[in-house]
């Protein structure tokens, strides 16, 4: 008899259990925290002090090192929220619901950060804080979607109903993601096209985009850290009546 091979390693299946997920996140946290700290600090110093100034925009372009990562992350976070919501809806997995719930505030913060840095960058470059341009508007809609999901989540008292309802809403809102992504290509906009593409080299020189890439990866690590922290809190809050949480809290 040959033992049937599992597709994925064992810890992946264990993530579905709140208790195991809590522990696995606890093990991953230090690594991601160090990576986030090193990448963000290193990337920031590199970007602000050593990357060359833009020939047109001078030093004002350096805000790209905050703007692009936060914008990318705001969209990825929405995707994660929707996918986690779908998993929660289909397989009734509690941890997926918790991931979706923890994603929303982080994503909303990132969307705000992207909009703010965009406004600050827009003032010297376009001459105004805000233009009603397709990219900006669709990003604003993304923020509204996050706020809607959060409002719905807090309005429904039953936790499982709240999670399911917000999952449906976030799946509906998913139509906005391609609109944001392609808004710079479908419409004639002031906003410049995407910096990173999978199939082409970036249009800017390497000593400009490499620090940007470092910042993007750093932001992802930072996101992972905040998500795991929120997720662990959420697990503890929701599983507060189970034995292992009580044991854990009493042992401290």
């Amino acid at each position: 008899m040959v033992e049937k091979k599992k597709w994925l390693p064992r810890w992946f299946y264990q993530l579905a259990s709140p208790r195991w997920c809590f522990q696995i996140c606890g093990k991953l946290l230090p690594g991601f925290s160090v990576a986030a700290l090193v990448l963000l600090l290193g990337g920031m110093v590199w970007a602000l002090l050593f990357a060359p100034a833009d020939y047109q925009q001078g030093n004002s372009f350096r805000i790209i090192y905050l703007h692009v990562p936060s914008a990318i992350l705001a969209q990825s976070c929405y995707m994660l929220m929707a996918v986690a919501g779908a998993i929660g809806l289909i397989w009734k997995m509690k941890v997926a619901d918790m991931v979706a719930k923890s994603c929303a505030p982080i994503g909303a913060t990132m969307a705000v950060l992207a909009l703010l840095t965009g406004a600050i960058w827009g003032k010297p470059t376009w001459g105004s804080w805000w233009v009603w341009d397709a990219r900006l508007t669709s990003m604003l809609i993304l923020l509204f979607l996050y706020l809607g999901v959060m409002a719905l989540n807090s309005a429904i008292e039953s936790e499982s109903t709240a999670a399911q309802a917000s999952a449906v809403l976030s799946l509906v809102g998913l139509v906005n993601i391609p609109i944001i992504k392609y808004s710079v290509e479908w419409w004639n906009t002031l906003h410049q096209p995407a910096t990173f593409k999978l199939t082409e080299r970036p249009a800017m020189p390497a000593d400009m985009w490499v620090p940007l890439l470092v910042m993007v990866v750093g932001f992802y690590c930072f996101f992972a850290v905040t998500l795991m922290l929120r997720l662990r809190n959420e697990i503890l809050r929701r599983e507060r009546r189970s034995g292992w949480v009580r044991d854990l809290l009493l042992s401290k």
């Binding site: 719905l152 429904i156 499982s160």
Partner: protein, 237 residues
């Protein structure tokens, strides 16, 4: 034995019959409550009236503003009427009966949304020429306005119904539903006003109408799924 049992029960009704029955019931119920029927229209007119008073009564300026104002007012009027879509059925328990029926829920949902649209979206479309005169919209813009409303308002009803289904179990769903639904209305608003503006300036409006039609097609296919899922969640929760 089985046959006898089957014969003693009422014969199962087909999908078409169910669709027609739901549509008829919803229309009849709405037509009996006249106030709910007229309220969105009055609201539409009132919002339109506020703009000349609040912004400027100057005809040229109003004509420029008209496409956007009419569309925003139509959007708000639809939104206002959305909350009652499932509310009464939820309160008297008939929504649960609908959920229990063996026919696909999507079908019932489409019938209900269609009934809602016939009494709000269609009515708004028919009132639109009057409004366009009030706001000095050039006559060339009126066909564009009506066509865009005709294609756009069903999408508004479909998307709004998702919000209504998600909030039907809540006591105060009123503000929440606008929070959930308004961001999703923005694409319809953009292409709707775009169509009217194109019609006013004499540009071809086929592209805008095609996009509105595409949104509607997407809505008809996907929104009933989401509405059905949301209703099941709201009722079971």
């Amino acid at each position: 034995m089985n046959q006898q049992l089957g014969a003693s029960r009422r014969p199962d009704i087909g999908m078409g019959a169910l669709f027609a029955a739901t549509l008829k019931r919803d229309l009849k119920l709405s037509l009996r409550r006249k106030s709910e029927l007229v309220n969105p229209l009055i609201f539409f007119l009132m919002v339109i009236t506020l703009f000349p008073l609040g912004v400027s009564p100057e005809p040229g300026f109003l004509a420029e503003l008209a496409p956007g104002v009419i569309w925003v007012a139509a959007l708000l009027a639809t939104l206002l009427s959305m909350d009652s879509l499932f509310r009464t059925d939820f309160d008297d328990g008939s929504l649960e009966q609908l959920l229990l029926s063996p026919q696909p829920l999507m079908l019932v949902v489409v019938a209900k949304v269609l009934a809602h649209w016939m009494l709000t979206g269609l009515a708004l479309t028919l009132v639109a020429p009057l409004i366009s005169v009030m706001l000095f919209l050039p006559a060339e813009g009126v066909p564009g306005l009506m066509l865009s409303l005709l294609l756009g308002t069903p999408t508004l009803s479909l998307v709004g119904a998702i919000g209504a289904a998600l909030t039907v179990g809540l006591k105060r769903g009123g503000v929440l539903i606008s929070l959930l639904v308004l961001p999703l209305y923005i694409p319809v608003l953009i292409f709707g006003t775009g169509a009217v503006q194109a019609a006013v300036t004499g540009l071809p409006l086929g592209g805008y109408l095609a996009l509105l039609g595409a949104l509607l097609a997407l809505g008809i296919v996907l929104a009933p799924l989401a509405i059905g899922a949301a209703l099941r969640i709201s009722v079971s929760g």
